[in-house]
Amino acid sequence: MHLYELPLIFVLIGLVFYVVLAGADFGAGFWLLFAGRGPAAARVRDHAHESMAPVWEANHVWLIFVLTVTWTAYPSAFGSIASTLSIPLFIAAIGIILRGAAYALRAGAASAREQRSTDAVFAVSSILTPFALGTMVGAIAARRVPVGNAAGHLFSSWTGATSILVGVLAVATAAYLAAVFLAADAARARDSDLIASFRTRALAAGVLAGGIALAGIAVLHADDQPLYHRLLHSDALAALVISILAGALTLELVRRRHFERARYTAALAVAAVVAGWALAQNPILLRGLTVRQAAAPHDTLVVVIVAVLAGAVILFPSLALLFRLVLRGQLDHGEQDLSPSPPAIGTLLSASAPGLLARAAAACLLAGFGFLTLAEAGWAHAIGVLALLGFIVCGFLADVPSQLEKISREDPATRS
């Protein structure tokens, strides 16, 4: 393990999280399209939406994490990938915009017709985005992305059989993950109809995804001999075997209705595929560029690693909190009315001498003007800025509470 490989590990971990978590969100969009018609379908749609609502944004940010760490730690690789593969990247971008917009808009959709149209946009973009991102991974794996600003072919670099294969596989995997997760959510809500429908979907999608993956090996044999050999004659093989075993285990768990455990084995299967890809690539990042050559200078790497680790210390507990709340169902609808006894009606801010605060605000404004505008030194400017911020805070506290109290006195009709 070298220093220059460490950020890549982070990127891959981020990618696994993105594929598993956001992949499941994409898949939920996929199932919107194949929900069928009628009231049962409406319930499937609502279930798909509600399950991902609290976690959707957090899941999505993994992609931003992957991108930023890549361009900080491997700037030249990022530039080459983004310019050669600009078309699929752009498609993915459009897909993400439409998806998010449709998602936000669904909140305001009142009629069933409006809801159907936002759902349709949502579903189509949910399929397009993982497909486009998958073709990019395929292009990188097949080494069709050379180093340089748009050095590779704009189309043929990502329209090879390998790229298309990975794109399709990405969509199928997403659908599979989503079905497993949604079945588990339905099991938590003890909704037997939904359990049954998502169990069927999970089994079907699982068989399909597995089938595509196996057929893919044949495609690779025909399209890209080197990649085929790298996959089957290195450590990557072990990862693939783990993936196949985990995938088969998931199917069995789903069949036996152990949905919670199936969540984790399904995630493992996906993670193993990503690991297999990474092992098959190692140590080459792009055509003509090793990981070592692509890495940023030493200082940057150190700072990135420290920043990522420090961030992880804050991030993972928060994330754990969110998922614990979600998985325990505390954020579901209609359960657990924790809504507490309203706190004792106290006075609205012990009207803390508004006169004094107002004077303090005036003093801060004067000091701010003096230090920031008239003085020249850096330290004086710092004091000036603090004084001006103090002016805003003091002024706000001096004015607002008394004003609110007055408003509530003037208009007792609506006072509760």
Binding site: P54, L63, T68, I94, G100
Partner: protein, 441 residues
């Protein structure tokens, strides 16, 4: 194209900076007083925040895509220098997303105190994130912390590059206060329109007073901060200042022009104030101000774009400050909200105007730096992608954004029209049955 995405993203950033703090203040009022009205207000604002944040996530993702799509050479040369800022920004974005999830879905499900606490990281992450992005921009304006050799960045010290930068602080404070002004005026403007249409209960008054007071206090301060930032520009980026002022030749005791149009080396139809520019920029009426002629023509930014947007920003900013001062004056002298219809009409306009000023300000700093993407280090056309098809992408993106924009307006109107849950529930004493959140938000 990035400029387009950026101008869509940036007003959302303002909400990210200022809105959580305001919501938390209202929720805190509720916790202190137990008055259901504040709870309603905080909940309704939370829904708006949720919708805006969802759009903010998307535009933010697109911006990071565009770093690669449009500026691969910029990223691949300097990613190691400035990328750290974005990496940390990614984390704070993450935290924001996590806690927004908890906060939005936690109403009714967490204890009030825990819920209030879960809101605090949102506010902190919003500030941290903007700090990081602005540190990158400040670095682009005033690059340091590396050595360029054969087109490769060597001796990279990302921490020095990003945070030991004299440009960072004015830019950050300027943007941060702008965030409060934009959010404050937009929110207050929405309720001002309500008043003009005759909705003026205690709810509207409260919802107007809180953001308006913040904006009214912040907008005069912004003038002082802006002046500070401008003095920094005067020393570090004289050409930008020259473009802002339309100063063709290096001049001693330069005069300041208000309005007007720059053509053939001078400002036409403007009002000149002798020696004012030297006084403002260097605190000395006879100071020498560098003109555009200090660099060759192909190293000069497009003067009128920079000049007009700067004047727009300052003009609107001054009017907003005036509005703020009028408001504060009425508050202090009469101890009540202003009653003139004209005040509320002006307030309704103040929101969109503040967004315009914000965008104009970014145009000033970004176009004013042209033709450099990294000031005096990398030209913009060296940074741009070699892939073709940018116009196609541009038009597509424009259409998509127009669609998203219409959608956002539509959903905000929907949210505004949603029935108000509380008064009924409050009198009923239960306060729960009617507080079911809408399916998604």
């Amino acid at each position: 194209m990035q400029a387009l995405s950026f101008s869509v993203h940036i007003p959302l950033v303002c909400f990210g900076i200022a809105f959580p703090a305001m919501i938390l203040f209202v929720e805190w009022l509720y916790l202190r007083s137990g008055d259901q009205l504040y709870r309603t207000l905080a909940r309704r604002w939370t829904r708006v925040m949720a919708a805006l944040f969802a759009i903010g996530v998307i535009t933010g993702t697109i911006l990071s895509f565009e770093m690669g799509l449009l500026w691969p050479a910029f990223t691949s040369t300097f990613g190691s220098v400035f990328g750290l800022g974005f990496a940390i920004e990614g984390f704070s974005f993450f935290l924001e997303a996590i806690f927004i999830g908890i906060y939005i879905y936690g109403w009714d499900r967490l204890s009030p105190k825990a819920h209030f606490l879960s809101g605090i990281p949102i506010a902190i992450a919003g500030v941290l994130g903007s700090l990081m992005v602005i540190s990158v921009n400040a670095w682009m304006n005033h690059p340091s912390g590396f050595r360029l050799h054969d087109g490769k960045a060597l001796d990279v010290h990302p921490l020095t590059a990003l945070f030991a930068n004299s440009f960072l602080w004015p830019e950050l404070v300027h943007m941060y206060i702008a965030g409060y002004i934009v959010t404050g005026f937009l929110l207050a403007g929405a309720y001002a329109i309500g008043r003009l249409r005759g909705r003026w209960t205690r709810y509207e008054r409260t919802a107007l007073a809180i953001p308006l007071t913040i904006a009214a206090l912040a907008s005069p301060v912004q003038i002082l901060i802006g002046d500070w930032a401008a003095r920094d520009v005067a020393t570090a980026q004289p050409i930008k200042l020259a473009a802002i002022e339309g100063l063709a030749k290096t001049t001693k005791g330069a005069s300041e022009h208000l309005l007007g149009w720059y053509t053939q080396g001078q400002v036409k139809y403007g009002i000149a104030i002798p020696k004012m520019l030297s006084l403002l920029a260097f605190h000395n009426p006879d100071a020498v101000v560098k003109g555009l002629d200090t660099v060759p023509v192909d190293r000069q930014p497009p003067v009128n774009v920079v000049r007009v947007s700067f004047q727009l920003m300052v003009g609107i900013g001054t009017l907003l400050a005036l509005l703020g001062v009028i408001y504060l004056f009425v508050r202090i002298r009469r101890k009540r909200l202003p009653e003139s219809v004209w005040f509320y009409r002006a307030l309704a306009l103040a929101g969109p105007a503040s967004v315009m000023a914000l965008i104009a300000g970014w145009v000033t700093t970004e176009v004013g730096r042209q033709p450099w993407v990294v000031y005096k280090v990398m030209l913009t056309n060296e940074a741009v992608t070699g892939a073709g098809g940018i116009p196609v992408g541009y038009v597509t993106l424009l259409l998509v954004y127009a669609g998203v924009g219409i959608g956002v307006v539509w959903i905000l109107r929907r949210l505004a029209r949603m029935p108000m849950d509380p008064p009924a529930s409050v009198s009923g004493g239960s306060g729960r049955a009617s507080e079911q959140p809408s399916p998604v938000l």
